[in-house]
């Protein structure tokens, strides 16, 4: 596996190097993080002499540092680094420590990034001499371009026969959930009902024979993605291969007010988190000079699994949490 991973990482780097992206390296330990209510983080202490221990957090994504580099340098950058997410249940595609590829392209949007992601996977396919069809789960997946591109509105229409415009109304969304026998709580927010409907009724029916870009998510899901003209959608996509989320992309939000609104909302919802952390308010200053830019985060372990037809994440890691728990070390 070491050799396979080394070859794979090398191929990824050569793709970005050939396109003149600069590889960067940023801290994994940070005194503050971007507030993201759905993510639990790992906390540790820095024992600084003469003071009380100072809390530090393992990054769930290198975004906060990479955005600072872009503000100052205004050039395309990429990074392959470890990221950490606490409390998530282990599964065939989840390990709390994992490898992320993140790349940012300035003066580009999410549609440009779709093309780059497709080029990257096509390049890896050729460079690593992969089979024309890879089998993953019960599927034979063709990694040949073009990949599928389906908007959220289109998939809702196709699977449930409803448009997202209709679901923008809270009561309509609630009725749709009830119609499909989903459990609905009185305190469910619009975003929570939307995800219940999406995860129960749509995601299991996504086409799996080719990589799929699912794009234009509802803007009411709080993210740092730019709002699309018209206001209902955000310039966002997720790349699914074999039914698994491999990557996500935003045209990055640059509007100060909207970023502040996102921060405040997440800080509020973060109060229910198990691990609280200091907030990276300083990033807001950098983002006020941020150029138009598109960012992609891609799970390297998952992509490695798919291209080499490996069904469990532990098989692509030196020692996964699954292994450490099985052998009693954790």
């Amino acid at each position: 596996m070491f050799k396979t991973r080394a070859t794979f990482n090398h191929a990824v780097r050569s793709f970005f190097d050939s396109k003149d992206y600069m590889e960067v390296e940023t801290p994994l330990l940070s005194p503050f993080l971007i507030p993201e209510a759905a993510i639990e983080v790992f906390k540790t202490d820095y024992l600084k002499q003469g003071t009380a221990a100072l809390p530090l957090y393992l990054i769930p994504s290198p975004e906060l540092w990479m955005k600072r580099i872009i503000t100052n340098n205004r050039r395309n950058i990429y990074q392959i680094c470890k990221c950490f997410r606490n409390s998530e249940q282990l599964s065939q595609v989840h390990n709390p420590e994992f490898s992320m590829l993140e790349w940012y392209t300035v003066h580009a949007d999410y549609i440009d990034s779709m093309k780059h992601a497709e080029e990257l996977i096509t390049y890896l396919h050729k460079c690593l001499k992969l089979k024309p069809l890879v089998s993953f789960g019960n599927e034979q997946i063709s990694l040949e371009p073009p990949f599928l591109r389906i908007s959220m509105d289109e998939i809702f229409n196709r699977v449930l026969g409803i448009t997202l415009d209709d679901l923008d109304d809270y009561n309509n969304l609630r009725q749709s959930c009830l119609k499909h026998d989903l459990m609905v709580s009185s305190d469910d927010s619009w975003e929570q009902l939307f995800h219940k409907l999406f995860l129960s009724c749509i995601e299991p029916h996504l086409p799996q024979n080719k990589p799929l870009f699912l794009y234009d998510y509802p803007d009411r899901i709080p993210t740092l993605a730019k709002q699309k003209q018209g206001g209902l959608y955000a310039e966002r996509w997720e790349l699914y291969i074999g039914g698994i989320e491999i990557a996500n992309c935003y045209t990055e939000e640059t509007d100060q007010e909207k970023i502040l609104k996102f921060y405040k909302g997440e800080v509020q919802r973060k109060q229910q988190s198990l691990v609280n952390h200091d907030i990276d308010w300083g990033l807001l200053d950098f983002l006020s000079h941020f150029p138009p830019c598109s960012g992609v985060a891609l799970g390297m372990d998952r992509l490695l699994m798919i291209v080499y037809e490996i069904s469990h994440i532990k098989e692509v890691m030196f020692s996964s949490f699954h292994e450490m728990i099985r052998s009693g070390k954790l």
């Binding site: 759905a38 998530e88 249940q89 599964s91 989903l182 459990m183 929570q192 899901i221």
Partner: protein, 187 residues
């Protein structure tokens, strides 16, 4: 009450008055917005499978159950007949929703029944059980088409694929969850 995020495989919960057992639990975190848990639940009255998505913070009604030893006597159209090993009282567990338990029940053996308000809702099985092979074909030498395995039948009627060296009368260890052959047991 229990938070959906704390639910584990094998737990028992109550939905609209029916007891369910958690068959699968998958943590789903879209990374944006909220965290969710995708549950696959088995209705212990009807055997029907229910899939649902809950917010991690959402609460569900868990039920208090207890395990008790019972001896399996026999099965007939009315269900599986068991006897309480302490009180010698007999009870019947309906077959509905527990049809595949017939392949694991051996007359005279003790099993743990899961009771909820004194009603049995589940026959729990050990992870591995030993069975005797009662029907087995002779292996054909040089047969490579079958991939080095052949089907046999146990005394309970369970059909499993086993390696070619297994003969009629052998004792074999079976994984009760996957119904797969694990190894031959030395007598």
């Amino acid at each position: 009450m229990i938070k959906a995020g704390s639910i584990a495989k094998g737990m028992f919960i109550l939905i609209k008055g029916d007891p369910y057992q958690v068959a699968e639990r998958e943590f789903v975190n879209p990374g944006k917005g909220s965290a969710f848990v995708r549950l696959k639940l088995k209705n212990l009255k009807t055997g029907q499978v229910l899939k649902q998505v809950n917010k991690s913070q959402e609460t569900l009604e868990d039920i208090e159950v207890n395990n008790k030893s019972f001896q399996f006597l026999y099965s007939d159209d009315s269900g599986y007949h068991f006897m309480d090993t302490e009180t010698y009282e007999q009870i019947v567990v309906p077959k509905e929703g527990a049809e595949d338990r017939q392949y694991f029940l051996k007359e005279g053996e003790e099993y743990q029944l899961v009771l909820w308000e004194n009603t049995p809702i589940e026959i729990s099985l050990p992870y591995k059980m030993v069975f005797e092979v009662t029907e087995a074909e002779h292996a054909i030498k040089g047969d490579t088409v079958s991939g080095g395995s052949k089907p046999v039948t146990t005394e309970t009627g369970l059909q499993v694929k086993v390696p070619l060296f297994i003969k009629k009368g052998d004792k074999i260890l079976i994984n009760t969850e996957t119904k797969e052959y694990l190894e031959r047991v030395n007598q």
